[in-house]
């Protein structure tokens, strides 16, 4: 998606602001996709995504590059915001999923297969679904996923592999 930032050039932006702007540009849709997969509620996902960027913007000067990647830091904030929203609403993972967007299923020949994958995703544990969302919706590397979830990189890779195996088996079950 084309991203446009309307910046008023009153003052020369600081390096931290420019870095955050780059982070925002590169992560906006990824954050939304991840949050939406956790909440499975589009309006709530929009609120939480906006809140996560707002919090990250306020804390941007506290980011320590030595402690990890900026994207992992941003997704950590987004994860906390999403989990707080789930806690606040008491909906947790039992939340009824929104009906899948049929248009995203693409061509008719892909439709049935993607419907099966979507259904298989629903049968995964919330934690496994989060791993897959971080990997394939947000596009994070295993090291970044590990940092977001507070795991070691190898542990994150192992868990992701198990989740994918389970997803594939669930697809088999659907088939």
């Amino acid at each position: 998606m084309e991203q446009t930032l309307i910046a008023e050039a009153k003052d020369a932006p600081r390096a931290g602001d420019l870095a955050f702007e780059r982070l925002y540009r590169s992560s906006r849709d990824d954050v939304y996709a991840y949050v939406a997969s956790l909440l499975r509620d589009a309006p709530a996902a929009e609120e939480v995504t906006a809140a996560a960027f707002e919090r990250a913007y306020r804390k941007r000067n506290r980011f320590d590059p030595e402690r990890g990647e900026p994207r992992a830091w941003l997704f950590g904030i987004a994860r906390n915001a999403a989990l707080d929203e789930l806690r606040r609403r008491g909906r947790q993972a039992e939340l009824a999923a929104e009906p899948a967007d049929v248009e995203s299923f693409g061509a008719p020949e892909d439709h049935e297969r993607r419907l099966a994958v979507s259904a298989a995703l629903e049968r995964l544990d919330p934690g496994e679904r989060e791993l897959i969302a971080l990997k394939f919706f947000a596009g994070l590397a295993n090291a970044e996923i590990a940092q977001v979830l507070g795991l070691s990189e190898s542990n994150a890779g192992t868990k992701l592999h198990r989740a994918m195996t389970k997803l594939r088996e669930a697809c088999d079950g659907n088939a």
Binding site: L5, R28, S37, E54, L86, E112, R114, V117, R168
Partner: protein, 388 residues
């Protein structure tokens, strides 16, 4: 349907990736460009709002408030230290030992330390001549009390009012003089005392060089004339310090008057019993009791007389000093030394206030830290539970 291959599964997952609405994306872009202004409709708790603030922005106002609070408290404490402290302490039972009194004290200037080496001590070292006298009375104030004296009527039956209060006044006056003027000033002191019907209880004068020569007078001045007398004494030479204090002795005076009345009534009663006594032994018993009661009445009368004299006559201490004014009892001009002293006192008070503030804020900060840690642990546990 066949099982999807890995690459196909990944492609399908990516195709299922939720995408934001273009309207939301555009709105978020605008908010990003504006620096994410705060939204009022977002349900942030006060704690979250506090957390969202930068620590530097919190520290500056918090530090300012803390410094302001310490400064105000320091100023208040310092002002309390310098302001006169009115005191009221009534103890009727103290009449028997004459110790306790009601106090009402006003300091107008710094009072010289009571144990400050007097001119007498200085003269002994310097070998100056000392002349002492005592008990010089100009008004015969220590007149004997009549046998039928039963206390001042204004204090009887506890019917005192504000205008009838018994107040003891004390004053101390330090005059600065040249050594050659000490004798002349001393004469003027006597003249002033006599002019106001006062009594010179004790006096001493010393000759010598500056710092050695001086004089000291212990005076009793009729309280009604104290103001005029002090004015006259102050006009003799340079006033280095002047201090006045008042003690309210109404309560012990009233109590003494009441006890004296009771004793008189008891004596009258005993005299009546004596008249009606029929046997010798009965008569002797009443006489013994009467003698004891009369002794008691004499004692009470002396007490009452002493209290009334304290109210009627004010004790005034006049010292004539020679030498530098700074050596007197703090009556000199405010200088660098005084400024350093005051600065030290203010710093000491500020340090004391800071220690007290630390003692209060320390435990509060510790509790807040523990509460914050507990809250953070609880939030983390709840977040884990959400996805479990």
């Amino acid at each position: 349907m066949e099982t999807p291959r890995d690459d196909q599964l990944i492609a399908d997952l990516q195709a299922l990736r939720p995408a934001p609405r273009p309207e939301f994306a555009a709105e978020l872009d605008q908010r990003a460009a504006a620096g994410f202004p705060r939204r009022t409709h977002w349900r942030w708790t006060p704690f979250e709002r506090l957390r969202s603030m930068q620590p530097r922005k919190l520290l500056i106002p918090a530090g300012g408030v803390a410094i302001l609070a310490i400064a105000v408290t320091t100023a208040l404490v310092a002002m309390q230290d310098t302001q006169p402290q009115p005191r009221l302490n009534i103890d009727r039972g103290a009449i028997h030992d004459g110790g306790a009194r009601n106090h009402s004290c006003c300091e107008f200037e710094r009072l010289a330390p009571a144990h400050q080496p007097g001119p007498e001590a200085a003269s002994e070292e310097a070998g100056g001549s000392v002349t002492e006298s005592s008990g010089t009375s100009s008004a015969g104030a220590a007149a004997s009390v009549p046998e039928n004296y039963d206390g001042n009527a204004q204090y009887r039956n506890g019917s005192t009012n504000l205008n009838n209060r018994a107040v003891e006044r004390n004053a101390e006056l330090v005059l600065g003089a040249a050594p050659a003027d000490v004798a002349e000033d001393s004469s003027k002191v006597f003249e002033a005392v006599h002019a106001h019907d006062g009594i010179v209880m004790r006096s001493s004068t010393r000759e010598g060089e500056a710092g050695v020569a001086g004089a000291r007078f212990e005076l009793l001045i009729p309280s009604a004339k104290l103001g005029d007398a002090l004015a006259a004494l102050s006009a003799i030479d340079e006033v280095r310090s002047r201090h006045e204090a008042t003690d309210d002795i109404t309560a012990p005076t009233v109590a003494a008057g009441e006890l004296l009345q009771d004793s008189k009534a008891r004596i009258d009663s005993l005299l009546a019993q004596l008249e009606t006594a029929e046997t010798e032994s009965e008569r002797e018993a009443v006489e013994a009791e009467l003698a004891q009661e009369r002794r008691h009445r004499s004692h009470l009368r002396a007490q009452l007389q002493q209290l009334e004299r304290r109210a009627d006559y004010s004790r005034v201490l006049v010292r004539i000093e020679t030498g530098a004014a700074e050596e007197s009892s703090g009556g000199g001009a405010w200088g660098v030394g005084d400024a350093l002293d005051d600065a030290g006192k203010i710093l000491a008070v500020a340090a004391a206030v800071s220690v007290v503030a630390l003692a209060i804020l320390g435990p509060i900060a510790l509790i807040a830290l523990l509460a914050w840690l507990a809250h953070r642990a609880w939030v983390r546990r709840e977040r884990r539970r959400v996805l479990s």
